[in-house]
């Protein structure tokens, strides 16, 4: 009988993970963490997270790449920056969460049907294509790609109220110079290693 081990030994960890994350924008201070827990206690979302922010930082520091990247915590961060302004070690925790989200997408280990990354990707896609977001189309994309499409029926009364007060329309918003945006985004893609 094989008995699975419950802890990770040093050789099971990814020793390059910390350096990999530290190379990303605003993640250089991560080493300074003293595990005080100010971030977790400040976070309005920590009660809903699978692992509190402090643990995520400890994981990154110690090479628990898979655990950090597969956590729901990074997606539940609503970017309110409370932890970031309170961190005594001046770690830009919200920006670290952003970096981990991008890394999780890059390594394809993110929950691809989970509503939050779906919304993020859908909104980015709309903006890259049209230059402007259209609220109604964003919500449609969110329901079709993640949430139950029939759930939209429950949203109908609110949608009607918003339309009646002129706060939602069916129109697709767009910038005039889409060509410029497209050439800019293409140029950026080419030069990025």
């Amino acid at each position: 009988m094989k008995i699975p081990k419950k802890v990770k030994y040093e050789e099971d960890l990814d020793p390059s993970f910390l350096d990999e994350i530290k190379k990303m924008s605003d993640c250089q201070e991560i080493d300074a963490c003293i595990q005080c827990g100010t971030c977790s206690s400040s976070c309005p979302m920590s009660v809903y997270m699978d692992h509190p922010p402090r643990k995520i930082i400890a994981w990154v520091k110690n090479g628990f790449a898979d655990e950090a990247l597969r956590s729901l915590t990074i997606w539940l961060c609503p970017s309110c920056y409370t932890c970031q302004v309170r961190c005594p070690a001046k770690i830009k925790i919200t920006d670290v969460m952003y970096a981990l989200k991008r890394k999780a997408i890059e390594k394809k280990v993110y929950p691809s049907r989970f509503s939050i990354p779906v919304l993020d990707r859908e909104m980015s896609r709309i903006i890259a294509k049209h230059g402007r977001n259209s609220e109604l189309w964003l919500i449609l994309g969110l329901y079709l790609k993640s949430l139950n499409p029939f759930g939209m029926l429950k949203m109908a009364p609110l949608g009607l109220k918003l339309m009646k007060t002129g706060r939602m329309s069916l129109r697709r918003e767009s910038i005039k110079n889409k060509k410029q945006l497209k050439s800019l985004l293409n140029a950026l893609k080419e030069g990025t290693p």
């Binding site: 970031q84 509503s115 609220e135 109220k161 706060r167």
Partner: protein, 294 residues
């Protein structure tokens, strides 16, 4: 830099039209008429930074470049736009190799950016450039009798703002008192409304907004004043469900600070977007009818 150029972002053209409809006449009234930026693109908000930070900074760079050509600093009323443009501006001016590459690509696409633009929020401009004393002197219909909970939310005061405190800001309270209202001691003033969570995980969104409304009610506020489209939207649209879910009547109007300041400065009620409120405003007009008469 002379004057400001107005960056609406997606919200002020969509669900927060009352914000646009009140901020434009308000700024005209205080002598700073705003012109909309030509062919602006969306800021990308929290979404683009979660997916691709190079693209996120670049699309903001395009907006900064358009502003630079006009020689005017940006006014961004949406806290999300404000933060995202400020964050990207800081990054593009950081001289990091990655930033230099983005600036080069921007230049090649006809969006050269020298880094001379500053991004401001209308609250900051009213509080710093105009000042509460001057606002007080301009008040024609005092908001006396009205008790307001001033809600700053997160992204205006954190982490880049230098005009107010990140945990306990007071600029909006001071302006509201200058307009004659009473600002209650709203302990949750910078607690997060959840942003897009009320759309993605409704149960969590309801709880976060319930906490805010409950605190406003407990402090005796008649309404909540907001400075951010997403805060306004969340606090307003979750109310019916909150009453059902938590069995507590925490309903109250949620208005933009520009609507109330506009009212105080004598701009007609019909021109400030009040008709777009989903929550009935009867209680507000009753309160002002009693207290507003001079």
């Amino acid at each position: 830099m002379n004057g400001y150029i107005y960056y609406p972002g997606c919200s002020l053209k969509g669900n927060s039209r009352p914000y646009e409809e009140s901020i434009l006449p308000l700024f005209k009234e205080v002598g700073l008429p705003l012109e909309e930026m030509d062919d602006w693109n969306c800021c990308g908000a929290t979404a683009y930074f979660s997916v691709d930070d190079t693209m996120a900074a670049a699309i903001c760079g395009r907006n900064l470049s358009i502003a630079e050509k006009t020689g005017k600093n940006i006014i961004a009323p949406c806290a999300g736009c404000y933060l995202t443009l400020k964050k990207s501006n800081k990054f593009l001016n950081s001289r990091q190799p990655k930033a230099a590459k983005i600036l080069k690509d921007l230049k090649n696409a006809g969006c050269e950016y020298q880094g001379t633009i500053d991004v401001k929020h209308p609250l900051e401009v009213l509080y710093k450039d105009i000042g509460p004393q001057a606002i007080k002197a301009m008040v024609r219909n005092s908001l006396s009798g009205l008790k307001v909970a001033c809600y700053y939310g997160c992204q205006l005061v954190r982490p880049y703002t230098d005009f107010d405190d990140p945990d306990y800001p007071t600029s909006l309270d001071i302006l509201m008192e200058a307009a004659g209202a009473k600002a209650v001691d709203f302990a949750a003033k910078t607690r997060c409304c959840g942003g897009s969570l009320s759309g993605t995980i409704e149960e969590v969104g309801l709880r976060l907004n319930y906490i805010l409304l409950k605190e406003a009610k407990r402090k005796g506020a008649d309404l909540v004043v907001t400075i951010c489209p997403l805060c306004q939207f969340n606090l307003e649209i979750t109310q019916t469900k909150i009453v059902k879910r938590f069995g507590e009547d925490v309903r109250m109007p949620i208005l933009y600070f520009s609507q109330l300041l506009g009212l105080a400065l004598g701009i007609p009620r019909e021109e400030l977007g009040f008709k777009r409120s989903i929550i009935p405003l009867r209680s507000l007009w009753e309160k002002l009818g009693q207290g507003g008469a001079q």
